[in-house]
């Protein structure tokens, strides 16, 4: 069992619930992203998600698109990711997952990327545009290096795919709350409950819900039926509006939705 699983299980048993917080690597600079992720961990995020800036982020809304474009414009290079992971790891032991579109990983080399992730102290990776059907190399390498691998399930996924993607995942499986890209939604889709209940009925893989979560009420609501709530856009937006201070306030506010 990975430490990601241990955190999810402990928080479920205590009734607290789990907050997963996303922030882009290298945004707006290497050191700023380290400081932001550390602050998120120290103020209530139970699991950290480090986004890898990518030129064609088709699952992301404008807020994250602009932030990751800025990171690249400010000189982010893929090798910086591992320094950022180490920098966070020196300060906090919060489970840490990388979220990356597939081409940067493919270009770096799946084996080398997996080795370097493990060596830097990350727990694993979320792959938004890699389905288990295409993930033979990543499945082998993540097994070899003891890394979590988080695939997605969606409201549109067939029962067979929900089962396969859940069972192929390690750490947790990412339930996409709604059909759409990242960003804030005023109302969380009833589809979120439905996809989570399908994951739960099929097996023991924990699942966290992401896409569209931005308020403490939504964090609380999601944790009433899933193992965790994933928040990205709301954190990035807070940082854009008020820097580290606003990010800390947003983290405390959303963690306040937990039990």
């Amino acid at each position: 069992m990975s430490i990601t699983n241990e955190v999810l299980e402990r928080n479920r048993e205590s009734g607290r619930g789990t907050l997963v917080g996303y922030f882009p690597a290298g945004y707006p600079s290497k050191q700023d992203s380290i400081d932001s992720l550390v602050a998120m961990a120290e103020n209530g995020c139970d699991i950290l998600e480090i986004g890898v800036p990518y030129s064609d982020p088709v699952m992301d809304g404008l807020v994250i698109q602009h932030a990751t474009e800025d990171a690249i414009a400010n000189g982010f290079r893929l090798r910086d990711l591992f320094d950022i992971i180490k920098g966070v790891r020196e300060k906090v032991d919060t489970p840490l997952l990388v979220m990356s579109y597939w081409n940067p990983v493919l270009s770096y080399g799946v084996e080398r990327f997996s080795e370097d992730l493990a060596a830097a102290g990350a727990q694993g990776m979320i792959t938004p545009d890699l389905i288990p059907d295409e993930a033979k190399d990543w499945i082998a390498q993540s097994d070899k290096h003891g890394l979590d691998r988080v695939f997605l399930v969606a409201p549109s996924s067939s029962d067979a795919r929900v089962e396969n993607n859940s069972q192929s995942s390690k750490g947790f499986v990412y339930s996409v709350s709604t059909m759409g890209i990242t960003g804030e939604r005023t109302e969380l889709d009833r589809l979120a409950r439905s996809v989570v209940s399908r994951v739960k009925s099929l097996g023991t893989t924990p699942t966290c819900v992401g896409v569209g979560i931005s308020t403490a009420d939504q964090v609380r609501e999601v944790n009433s039926y899933a193992d965790g709530a994933i928040v990205g856009t709301a954190f990035v937006k807070a940082y854009q509006q008020g820097g580290l201070e606003a990010l800390v306030a947003k983290t405390k506010e959303l963690a306040g939705g937990l039990g």
Partner: protein, 401 residues
């Protein structure tokens, strides 16, 4: 060399192709594939499409020999497959009518499309008008400027054109935006992808809809000259017109296949769109294929005077044909393409699209590699009316403005 190259049905072409997309889109791709396979096997679908092509598209397109143009390059015969004479002015309509019929079969009332030069957007807007569907076209802001006439055409046809302002603001980013729309509206919407790139089943399905170009041309060339051509030439961006004319000839080993890519300022400069000549394999827009990328796997911006070829990726079947050595790919600069555009206009009275002019410029290279007296079939994929603004400025034909 492997025979039976024509039988590839996806999702993979050797190590290329696949479905590298987010899970929420998989159900839609499965539905599309199932619908397409059922339609392909259904004679009533084939009949309906054939009738549309006959009475609406204007198929079969003719072959025109271009002797005065050919003379400029030496001892060769050049035959033009006139896709420019199709309704809407390019080959794009072949695929659009097929996919619009599939959208109807799936009960989808809205189609979305990406467009670079605007030809695919115009064809999609046309099909939407014809079939009574809502239509949204995503187009890079840069392209809305250099192809303003096509924007007006799409609007007149009743489509909504959304300029894309993210990234490089060209075709690549228009595809990103269409994918984002699709994932949010997949129940009501069919993504009418306009080239042989993208996740399975698009590369095989779009190829099949365009292979009518090569099927007709093969018969026409046999009837006209009594033999198959020595070489076939097409321009290549995403690769739809090229695969359409290549595919029926894949197993004719004596027919050389030549794809001419956009080399922009020059193949050895940083400003080009020569994906197959200068790229390396990676994943872009849902498929593994050659692409232009930096050492971190970030997609690089492509550059071409031709909006339709200004794309840093290419269809996976072309990557496979390149690695097999079955097809050859060669870069043509902006300047060479524009010169070929003027030359065909002056010698034959046919104004080609700037995209197509890349294939025509390739004749200079083919003259050096083919034997004397060679027969060359060129896919004249589109007409140049849409490019008059660019050509007018390039050649200084517009006077003071």
């Amino acid at each position: 060399m492997q025979t039976n190259l024509r039988s590839q049905a996806g999702p993979y072409f050797g190590e290329f192709g696949g479905r590298f997309v987010a899970e929420p889109l998989i159900a839609a791709l499965d539905e599309l594939e199932a619908t397409y396979l059922a339609a392909k096997a259904d004679p009533s679908f084939q009949l309906e499409l054939a009738e549309l092509h006959k009475n609406y598209t204007g198929r079969p397109s003719i072959i025109t020999e271009a002797p005065r143009f050919a003379r400029e390059f030496g001892d060769m015969r050049i035959f033009l497959k006139r896709e420019d004479l199709n309704h809407t002015g390019s080959h794009k309509i072949n695929n659009v009518m097929g996919q619009a019929l599939l959208a109807k079969r799936m009960g989808k009332k809205r189609i979305i499309a990406e467009t670079g030069a605007g030809q695919h957007g115009v064809a999609s807007a046309t099909a939407a008008a014809y079939f009574g569907l809502d239509c949204v076209v995503y187009m890079g802001e840069v392209d809305t400027e250099r192809q303003a006439l096509n924007v007006a055409r799409m609007k007149l046809l009743g489509a909504q054109v959304i300029p894309v302002t993210t990234g490089s603001r060209t075709l690549k980013d228009a595809i990103n935006e269409a994918l984002r729309d699709w994932v949010a509206n997949v129940d009501s919407t069919h993504y009418l992808l306009g080239t042989v790139a993208g996740p399975h089943p698009f590369p095989t399905m779009v190829r099949d809809f365009h292979s009518i170009i090569g099927i007709e041309a093969r018969e026409q060339m046999l009837a006209l000259t009594g033999r198959l051509p020595d070489a076939i030439a097409a321009c290549i961006g995403g690769g739809s017109n090229a695969i359409g004319i290549f595919h029926p000839f894949l197993d004719d080993q004596d027919v050389a296949l030549w794809g001419f890519e956009a080399a922009g300022d020059g193949i050895d400069t940083p400003k080009h769109a020569a994906t197959l000549s200068r790229g390396r394999p990676g994943v872009l827009h849902g498929a593994r294929s050659y692409m232009l990328q930096d050492e971190d796997g970030q997609t690089m911006e492509s550059h071409s005077i031709s909006a339709g070829l200004d794309y840093p990726g290419v269809g996976p079947e072309h990557s496979w044909l390149k690695d097999l050595g079955r097809a050859n790919y060669f870069g043509i600069s902006d300047a060479e393409a524009m010169e070929a555009m003027r030359l065909l206009s002056r010698t034959e009275g046919i104004i080609p699209a700037i995209e197509t002019a890349h294939a025509l410029a390739g004749m200079k290279h083919l003259a050096t590699v083919l034997p004397a007296g060679a027969h060359i079939l060129v896919n004249l994929s589109g007409r140049g009316d849409k490019d008059m603004e660019t050509a007018g400025r390039y050649f200084g034909l517009l006077g003071d403005k």
